[in-house]
């Protein structure tokens, strides 16, 4: 998978709880604030990302993953670590 594929898939997962179109979301925006999601939605998104890409984020990392760019970076790092 390429980085651009990761981003499209992450955007789709981010959009799911709100039903909004996440394609126009700026990659560096806090996606919860931008899409009107709450903290549990954010955790749901991250859980979905973990499941979709079969990765696992460190517990202490969870609070820091707030934008599409953050999540894509974390997915890439996790996949590389276990490659």
């Amino acid at each position: 998978m390429t980085g651009s594929n990761f981003e499209a898939e992450v955007r789709a997962l981010v959009a799911e709880p709100s039903g909004c179109d996440a394609s126009r979301l700026d990659a560096d925006d806090d996606f919860c604030e931008a899409l009107g999601l709450d903290s549990l939605d954010r955790l749901t998104v991250l859980a979905s990302v973990e499941q979709h890409f079969d990765v696992s984020f460190a517990d202490e990392q969870i609070s820091e993953l707030r934008s599409v760019a953050d999540v894509v970076g974390a997915v890439e790092a996790s996949l590389l670590e276990h490659a």
Partner: protein, 449 residues
Amino acid sequence: MMKIGLIAMSGVRVRTKELAELGVTLPQFVDRGRVVASLPSLGLLTVAALTPPDVEVAYREIDTMPVEGALEPFDLVGISSFSAQIDEAYALADRYRAAGVPVVLGGLHVSMMSDEAAEHADAIVLNGAEGAWPRLVEDFRAGRMQRRYAGARNGVFEAPHYVEPRFDLLRGRPYNRITVQTSRGCPLNCEFCAASLRITSRFQQKSVPKVVSEIRSAMEVTDHPFFEFADDNTFLNKKWGKELLRAITPLGLRWFTETDISVADDDELLDLLAESGCRQILIGLESPSARGLDGIDPHNWKRNRCERYLESIDKIQSRGVTVNGCFIVGLDSDTSETFAEIKDFVQRSRLLEVQITVFTPFPGTPLYERLRREGRLLKERFWDRCTLFDVNYVPRNMTVDELEAGVRWLFREIYNEREFNRRKRHYMDIVKERAEGIARPADALVVGA
């Protein structure tokens, strides 16, 4: 046109210095404090709705009032306050009265300490505003406002008393949480409880259509609102509760409420909670032990349930509905071991949120009267310390210093970043299990994790 100013007292201010300093460093404590401080006053929005339509009403928060100098002009001011902010409410009332503006005081504390409140007001409203405020306004207009008005203790959700709160007054304001009340009262009648049961004769429930109408009205005034049901116990009547949940599911809400642990007994109710967008229920667990719960409510209902606490919490949370387990420290049966017992229970139960509060003798409660008779109140008057985090009495099995130190220790153990992250991870695991359709057997609780 006559103009009435309704002023809400908001915010939670811990008085004990060491605890206040600790609290600001702990992420989950800061989170909840911020949420509580941002709730609008449902009581005053109801007062506004009870005001005749030819009277202008302004809703204000205390934080927006000038601390000195000229006050915003009104013909009449109404102030509602809990105990912890009552001295600030009295100070504001005194300022307005000194400026020649009559003041009406109301709210739970005023109902419990009416003689004291009357010294700072031209009129006081006892119990709720329903059945009292319309008469007060007409009397004021006619120049014959009385010193005391008693609101209805029953029938507040039916004609002629019921009104839909003025959520429109919140338009354009930065509230992202809105309160709606579905019931008043609670039959458990715990000794320490200072909630709406103290101003009502019996449990009263609003009809589901009225609740839905209020929610729809509130949704019009704010983007992405999160709802809190301002109830003592929303699901006392589970048949009504299921009707409510089916009615609100299509609205796509996210919401929170308070109820008791018996919701875990009803699988259909739990499924409906999850489907309707319930994010969290707060449950007064109070203590993890039967010893601690003995005598806390007149029928020992909570004590008789505590053996099933772990199983019940797991069952609720497995639906993706988080449980905010609320504990009280400093109960008469508590010892210096209690703090570690609570920490252990929190970790074993994997509660997704935790609220630790100090046993607090709010005025007007059976607890206050008992501790006063026993000579255990630190002071006769301590309302600014009724914060749920400050100690106001002599504990039975430890000193005040030991209780305060134990609270600080428990805060550090429960609300630190590591524990916060563990809770987040547990929620994510539940989400994944639900997505995979994994059923977790009731005996799959992690012991000693």
